[in-house]
Amino acid sequence: MNAVTANAKRASAFLTVFLKEVRENLRDRRTIVTALVTGPLVGPMIFALLLGSMLSRELDKAEQPLHVPVIGAERAPNLIDALKAGGIVPQAAIANPEQAVRRQDTDVVVRIGDNYAEAWRKGEPVQVELFYDSSQRDANTSVERVTRLVEGYARQQGAMRLVARGMSPGTAWPLQVARRDQATPQSRAVLMFAMLPYFFVITIFMGGMYLAIDLTAGERERQSLEPLFANPVPRWKILCGKLAAICAFSAASLLITLLAFAVVGQFIPAEKIGMELDLGLHFATYVSLLMLPLVLLLAVLQSMVAAFAKSYREAQTYISLLMLVPIIPSLLLSFMPIKAQAWMYAVPLLGQNLGIMQLLRGDGVTGEQLGLCLAGSLAAALLAVLATVQLYRSEKLAISA
């Protein structure tokens, strides 16, 4: 009994736990589907669909003829010609322009006043009314297009009148605004991709979620934690093996999603509206690097929360609440456009968020920012590991009933 062979090969406890958890969970269909299929692929798919439809709508509006109902078109044939030249197709007049716009029957309605022709002949200012609803973001492109055409026509006519009176058109416009937009094709894309970092975080989260629940609350509910702790292995080693298994699954999730985004990125016609989108290898490498400490941090947090729960179901509830936390930085950044300070990179989640946005802008991440991001998140993850090790020491943890 207790025969000890001195030099025989023995498995390490950490590796044993890790391999067993991975093998066991690879046999669970729900875990596999969540971690390797729905979790990592739903994000890119939603993203592609949303973006694709958004882009094609923008493209449609910029290039295609715009149908605009015009009231009193017969009173201003020249203006109508100018609008037609700008790609607008005047439609028959409608009775109630306010309602038509509010009901989204049309994006914009032009009304030319009754006295237009007479006032124009006398050289008096005339009014052209545009009906639109600025809360319909979708209509903004159309409204802007019509506005620009009407204003351009007005300016052109004004200049001609001045010239006819022997004056320089410059008299009426002593000041000219020259716009110098510094946005690069990439930075323009950023506005649309503000939620991208959140997709990555959620993917990591979903990838590890079922494992984290299964390995703590689940094991407790199935009453297998007590026999496990009767083995001559310190509890922290068991915990580390379990954490490694969770990390393996969430990292796999992240890699799949990055791959999917790289593929999806090929099919988004971003350059057509003057944007540039680089979701290729360079992007994927940096994102994985930035996200690495987050993989550990989220695994620990999930395990910690699940360890508090008495049952699988309870753990699921807690963890879905935890899932709301990573939204905060994304929301914060999209509602409050704060200028990034160096220290912000050291804040877990926020740092990753800023870093990914910078990658999307095409600015790249500096060594300092990368270092801060990794160090800050890793420190937080290690603290969380220590706290969970303490939690694992509790006598109550192993007792199921």
């Binding site: 009994m1 023995r10 066991e24 199935r222 009453q223 297998s224 026999p227 009767a230 083995n231 001559p232």
Partner: protein, 244 residues
Amino acid sequence: MIEVKDLHKAFGAIKAVDGVGFSARDGQITGLLGPNGAGKTTTLRMLYTLMQPDRGQILVDGIDAAADPLAVRRQLGVLPDARGLYKRLTARENIDYFARLHGLPENELAPRREALIKALEMEEIGDRRTEGFSQGQRVKTAIARALIHDPRNVILDEPTNGLDVMATRALRQFMLKLKAEGRCVLFSSHIMQEVAALCDRIVVIAHGRVVADETPQALREQTGETNLEDAFVKIIGSEEGLAA
């Protein structure tokens, strides 16, 4: 050899174990008998170092559980009250997992496992996933994984709980085999017949205290009852929580 001296454990105001002390010797089966809620499981949990006693000492083969819990666990094979198996793993994989956690050398693992599978007559279920196992099949698997490292001391918490007659008989034979191999077998039960049939020594626990620690014969003589069942009732002071 397991020695327990003056163990105390309280959960809040409830004294679950209130001065338990006994010895379980090698080559003997020691029965821990008591009604439900007497403190048997808590005592055993302190033995395999899942819980720490508030007071008292535990020695397993002379090793102090407070000083070196890992060494104590190495000397023990434990079938706890909770017998959860990993249902997505086969019986063999369940056993291998614990073998590796015990640091069993890889070259000894397979022979050891197959010997246990044969001894417990579980050849047919060895490669089946444990999901859907009967209570008896589950207990067999749990015992096999508890004994995979060939421990000198074996602790079984209510091993026959929920088993049918045939499975119970087989398990009792197996316990006698462990005894014949010279191991120290300590098991808890609230079933008197079982304890009477198997034990060399009976430790009766009630209300967190040891109320008797004798051989079955001495127990009968001490109480003046020829029937063990009557002897137990007399010792414990009530019939509550005992099964015949």
